[in-house]
Amino acid sequence: MPVDIRSTRLADCLITIEGFSGPLDLLLRLVEERRLPVTELSLVEVTDQFLAHLASLEDAPLELVADFTVVAARLIALKARALLPRPAEPEAPGEPEPDDLIRQLKLYQAFRDAAQELRLRELRGRRAYVRPAISPPSPARVKVIARDPASLLTALRRWHRRVEPRPVTLRLPPAISLRAMARRLLAGLRGGARTFRELVGRKADRRELAAGFLALLVLIRRGAVQAEQEVPFGEIMVTPRARPWREATADD
């Protein structure tokens, strides 16, 4: 058997279960060689111990997990096959069922060995590289349909239309600060209770509404105002509080 390159990672993962103690990959091999009865194997224990091994590593390499998945899947498949009742078939006396399984395992083993050969090649990194592009032949012989120089100009006009940046009108509404908005709300409240909408202004855009709502929250927290909303999404009634308060600022 060739050196088991693939299992180097799993060889570090030691498993101790009833009837077996050793590296995980050896476990699979023993099961496959039917030297260990798969039916008595606790897959839960194997998995638990693998996960414990994984947790002990600084950072778990993805390949290790991938390798384990292959082994685990293989063990599950073997166990399922061993445990599940076989479909009732007429007994074929000359062909006992285990032969078929052994054959299957040998076949799998052969391809696993072949995969290891490929892994060896991969590790040696012996890749072949091809040429990226055609090389220029002697240009004198190359024929191109004669063109009018004006076609170059046309091509550039088309290019210019395509890539020329179109003038963009940027309309940035003046941003309103939280502090200014708080002042606006307080000024509006001098005449007594008003609705939030009246305070912010009927023509307020979304940015102003958001700033206004934040300012309202700040003022509520400072005890400068009270607010009530009777129904969700309904009007918010804002009432100034009687006690003296310091100038509201939004920055604390």
């Binding site: 050969e117 890749r127 091809v130």
Partner: protein, 181 residues
Amino acid sequence: MTDPPFDLAARLGALLFVSGEPVERAELINHLGCNETELDAALATLRERGPGLGLVLIEHSGAYQLATAPSLAELVEAFLGLDRPARLSAAALETLAIVAYRQPVTRAEIEAIRGVDSSAALQTLIARGLVEPVGRLPTVGQPIQYGTTVQFLQAFGLASLEELPDLPPEISEFLAEEGSQ
């Protein structure tokens, strides 16, 4: 520049040099104006001359391509500033081995050998350009058959599929038996 007369192998070399892709036998024969036997002789000569320029001849399903010798990979990668691609997972490699030896092969056939679902592994190999659909089995459902690509040969430094190591005789016999059913 003085021009020595170029023999068939040299003319073949020039064509493979300018083509970025594998070139079919028929196309070579057509452009070189030779017959099958002469082409084979020219290919053999090219195989001898290639190493003088650090090159090898790759054959993939009846098409030919020049490539750098696999053992010069490190030099070439440093020159082109290439990183080594990530290593394949064990599952992908197992699947790749089965495709390489059993091609054309369906997913069901791969899974029968591996005993586990292999669609993810197969997808990885297709995404890496190592395996591709090559046809359909003319049975119910017409399942897709897969084979390895010329990139597979390049990635593993193989001149052709014939360079894959033989399977154990017992296995080959068993497979031949099964295949003839």
